[in-house]
Amino acid sequence: MFKKILIANRGEIAVRIMRTCQEMGIATVAVYSEADRHALHTLSADEAMPIGPAEPSQSYLNMDRIIEAVKQTGAEAVHPGYGFLAENADFAERCEREGIVFIGPPARVIRELGDKITARRIMHKGGVPIIPGMLEAADDPAAWAAGAEQTGFPLLIKASAGGGGKGMRIVQRPADLTAACRAASREAAAAFGRGTIYLEKFLPKSRHVEIQIVADSRGHIIHLLERECSIQRRHQKIIEETPSTALTPALRAAMGQAAVAAARTAGYVNAGTVEFILDPEGRFYFLEVNTRLQVEHPITEMITGLDLVRRQIEIAAGRPLSLTQEEVRGRGHAIECRIYAEDPERNFMPSPGRIAFLREPAGPGVRNDCGVYTGFEVPVEYDPILSKLVVHAETRDLAIRRMTRALKSYAVLGVRTPIDFLLDVLASAPFQAGETHTDFIATHLAEWVPDREALELAALAHAADAMAPKARPAGRIAAEAHPGPWHTLKHWRL
């Protein structure tokens, strides 16, 4: 097993990875930018290496600096977390070349699956159902028109290098095709340096259901059930749960088998996620493979009782996956809420700033993967995720109640968070009924305004805060009011 691992990431995910390393007796190295000198992940590691300015391209995305930090500290492996270099095939390749173990799939697999159209072709060949549409990317109007003819409307334009909704567009009518394709292609070129796009059938009223897979280097592949991730804003997930209310045992087994087939076809090693779109008739289609640890991996850990990071590290170290498909059992229900620094009242606009006060929820079945603390200045340069609040309970109904209680006891003051919004999603009738589709927020909460029932109580608290004498630091009071034994026992020694 490795003696030392460098975590090439920041925030909550770096902290979470370090926790498993500590439990495994592996020393940890944090890397940090100038903005993160006092970040929780920097403070949580056994060693911390500065890697440059706040700007991500000069620090967390700077391969030279990270490789240098690995060599300087003598770490044997790198865990990339999610985001930053996690799905960068060049980085994985560089690690391979330099004799550093990259905790993730081989560079070739990252490269092939990172190109969406290549991934589609691989899956199609492997017998995994894909969304009807083009199998070749194109950049000329004639090919788009032919593709549209074959796909039918409404359709979805996607960038072959895509990610995060960039270059994505829904087209309802043939008349809008060329203009929309041109705009999407421009956007893709600006974002990814490559303007090739392809067309897929657009599936309205669908769900986003993904399957966690784990594969060792000897070809043993299993799946760890599904995650339902349909509640999204701006194509970004905000609530995830498992099991999905839409899966029957038969459908779950079929999707699990498809995910394992996808992993096998791609030559996958380590933990990964196969994303599917599920239509109202229960037909599922391959969407993409995320070749890394997923943000929402904790809900899988909650219901399976497995530590995914530990499995990742063991597989990267060449150990066999000592777990069979039959041994994987989901128990109860888990929900995750992402706590971002953003303002749900202003279209989820980012809200960086200083955390003036933080009080984390606790209690049975509550886990908060948090990357910040009271007094921390949340930088403007990075992803706005502060923490992921996860609950586990016996049933979905109990999990919703548990999450509601946990959210209500979660105080994050100083930056805006969507906690109020999340509470209203959980309380809504369609969510409680399990009617979670990708259009959920647009359909049910487009006109959302915060609940003001407690406003008067808040005003009373404001008045009380102004009237109550400010507390002095506890140590000082003690010293002034009651001289301690260190003051009164002159020459006495222990």
């Binding site: 909704g165 006060f357 403007v380 959210l407 003051l413 407690a454 009380a464 805060d465």
Partner: protein, 190 residues
């Protein structure tokens, strides 16, 4: 003692009558509530409102006092101190080109002396992986660019000075709101 607090656009007005020994009564219109309070720590208070106990968490922020009660967080600004603590951006008038949140300038789209149309993109700021285009609140001429690419900026800070054409003063209809729906470019997606 009359208290006037503001939550977004809503004013909460009530009067407070101290009753000594950690107690006061508050009157909202013709309704009176009795409150007992005690500070537990710098950011934590115990309140008892008409005998019902609740915990409140409080912290001063640049936008007012953040108060969390009953699982909900409110930003409350003291109206009596409104002159010194108004909402960021408002101080410079609704016509100023200022970022809606702390951000980094990633791109400047115009040059000094350039004539711009209302709604034209002036610069791009980025915060937490989301790009926002700040647009001209009215047609005019760019007289000065106050920032450079890569610079950190804050709400209230005027990034670009804009002069309206002399013959056509700006109609005071709309604030310089960044068009979050239309102009934001999301880079997220995980």
């Amino acid at each position: 003692m009359d208290v006037r607090l503001r939550h977004n656009e809503k004013i909460i007005a009530f009067s407070v009558e101290p009753a000594g020994d950690g107690r006061f009564s508050a009157t909202f219109g013709d309704r009176r509530v009795d409150v007992a309070f005690e500070r537990i720590s710098e950011h934590q208070l115990r309140l008892s409102v008409d005998g019902c106990q609740t915990l409140a968490f409080v912290a001063e922020t640049p936008e007012g006092k953040a108060v969390m009660v009953d699982g909900r967080t409110f930003l409350l600004a003291d109206e009596r101190a409104a002159g010194t603590r108004s909402r960021p951006g408002a101080a410079n008038g609704p016509k100023a080109v200022t970022p809606p949140m702390p951000a980094v300038v990633t791109q400047i789209l115009v040059a000094t002396g350039q004539a711009v149309e209302k709604g034209q993109g002036l610069l791009v700021v980025s915060a937490m992986k989301m790009d926002t285009i700040l647009t001209a609140p009215f047609a005019g001429v760019v007289t000065r660019i106050n920032v450079a690419e890569g610079q950190k900026v804050a709400p209230g800070q005027v990034l670009v000075d804009l002069d309206p054409p002399a013959a056509d003063p700006p109609a005071a209809d709309r604030a310089a709101e960044p068009a979050a729906d239309a102009a934001s470019i999301d880079q997220g997606g995980r």
